[in-house]
């Protein structure tokens, strides 16, 4: 069939095909719009059912040169779509823009309809991140810092959600105005066996807010003739104020010198970020030692009393007391010995030693030797006995 009739038919058929195609396309698009709208509404309602709880007070501690913060969190995903693990990036900046601390961590993902919780513990080793002045400044001085936080996650496997925040936060120094001093007036001397211990109280105080834990303290004490002692210890908990007693065991030579001589000790102490160098005027523990010339008095027809007075000044408190001995020594060795134990309170000490010996002993040369027995064994003086 040819001519105008067939052309009209072809046109009509193609018009019917196009009409059908357009109708199907319109129905399909409308159906897809309905599905998309339903999905969007479901998505919005699901998103509104998400709850994230982070307590405002996190636990901060300063431990062994590291700031440690522990933040518990809970994600309650009441919606129909899963939340992927959240990547969090935190930066703390100084006013001039220098990044002081930077950390990245991730929070657990929350499957649909589930509640997950955890604890983020961040530890910044300040000694490696910051220079010493920066560290001191951060720990001991208030400042205005900037906290920059960025958290990124994927919701419903499709939607990338990014939360970012940059806010100025007033930084209150955790150990503001930390001061360290050697309490010179409370230095104690103790005997431990045949060793002399000096107990040096080191006082510290700060007006910050943080309880620091396991704070390293290093010390060295030196005298003009050399170093006496050096060491390290750890303060378990550095509260706002307290005293650390450093026990310094002395060698025999140092003990003798410090017992009897006035000198100046140099104490160098480092407590966390703070260092101090302080002179301690050292007064001899025993001073003004005087042993009187022994006096011989006749006691009956065959005996004499040899009496001597020992006086000294005790400048430090000796909790274990003071034990002093005097021995009458002849050519053949010790003839007699007297010991005295005294209270170790500071002040003048006067001890009278009397030896009763046979008169015949006076024929040989005698001498009185005075010893310190405690806190450390030491010969103090020796005086000849002159028979009148």
């Amino acid at each position: 069939m040819t001519g105008p009739t067939s052309r009209f038919r072809r046109l009509r058929v193609s018009s019917i095909d196009a009409d059908l195609t357009i109708r199907v396309a319109r129905i399909t698009i409308t159906a897809l719009w309905i599905l998309t709208a339903a999905f969007s509404v479901t998505l919005l309602i699901s998103a509104l059912k998400i709850r994230v709880q982070v307590p405002s007070t996190a636990a901060w501690t300063f431990q062994n040169n590291s700031i440690v913060v522990s933040v518990p969190y809970e994600i309650d995903n009441g919606g129909l779509f899963a939340i992927s693990p959240t990547q969090v990036h935190v930066e703390i900046l100084r006013r001039d823009g220098r990044i002081l601390l930077e950390e990245e961590f991730s929070l657990l993902g929350a499957p649909a309809g589930e509640r997950v919780g955890g604890n983020v513990t961040l530890a910044w080793d300040l000694s490696t991140l910051l220079s010493k002045p920066e560290l001191e400044s951060l720990l001991m001085s208030d400042a205005n810092l900037t906290l920059r936080l960025r958290a990124t996650t994927v919701y419903a496997r499709v939607f990338r959600v990014e939360l970012s925040s940059e806010k100025r936060v007033p930084w209150r120094a955790p150990i503001r105005d930390l001061t360290v001093e050697v309490a010179r007036e409370e230095v104690e001397v103790r005997g431990s066996g045949d060793q002399l211990l000096i107990v040096v109280p080191i006082r510290f105080s700060h007006s910050g807010w943080m309880t620091a834990r396991e704070v390293p303290l290093s010390y060295s004490f030196s005298a003009p003739w050399g170093e006496i002692a050096a060491g390290n210890l750890t303060i378990e908990e550095l509260s706002r104020s307290g005293v650390v007693r450093v026990e310094i065991p002395l060698g025999r030579e140092d003990a003798e010198r410090l017992l009897l001589n006035e000198t100046v000790l140099l104490a160098q102490v480092s407590l966390g970020p703070v260092s101090l160098s302080q002179e301690i005027h050292w007064e001899p523990i025993l001073s003004d030692l005087e042993v009187s010339e022994p006096v011989v008095t006749v006691y009956g027809p065959n005996a004499v009393d040899v009496t001597t007075h020992v006086s000294l000044h005790l400048n430090a408190r000796l909790p274990g007391g003071l034990r002093v001995a005097a021995a009458l020594v002849g050519e053949g060795g010790e003839v007699a010995r007297v010991e005295r134990t005294l209270e170790g309170a500071p002040g003048p000490v006067d001890i009278k030693f009397t030896f009763r010996v046979p008169l015949a002993r006076l024929r040989e040369p005698l001498r009185v030797e005075v010893y310190l027995l405690s806190p450390v064994e030491l010969e103090l003086a020796s005086v000849e006995v002159r028979a009148g």
Partner: protein, 148 residues
Amino acid sequence: MRFRLRREPSRLAVASLEAIVTGVAMAWLPSWFVSAARQAVPGLTTHLNLGLLAALGLAAAGLSFPSRVLEEPYSRLASLARSAIGLAYFLAIVWADRGFGVLGVELEDVRIVVSLGPYAAWILALGLAGILVGSAELALSIRRRPEG
């Protein structure tokens, strides 16, 4: 140009209902939602241009009448215009200063940005497909238009 109107009561009623629903959904709902959110969270700001959304919503609502009441091909033209306005409305929401498919809200120092990603592309594709089908419907309607 003379327009012939179809004034059956049922057609007018459907057009009115469609206009009201469209107006409420597109012009009033975003403002209400943002206002409610701001009441719940003071200081909340969004990049949404609520004035533009309201204007586009009212235009779409207004076009409900010609798309229902006018005879073809003018009703098809009005429907096509409505589809184009709907697409512009969607783009006004998701094409802000942060780029295409990115929604954002700010609360003082906190900014939350949601990248819709392929979902935005999907909606854009649906909108474009609607316009394409609407154009085809319009073309077919013009071709079928009786002479004179």
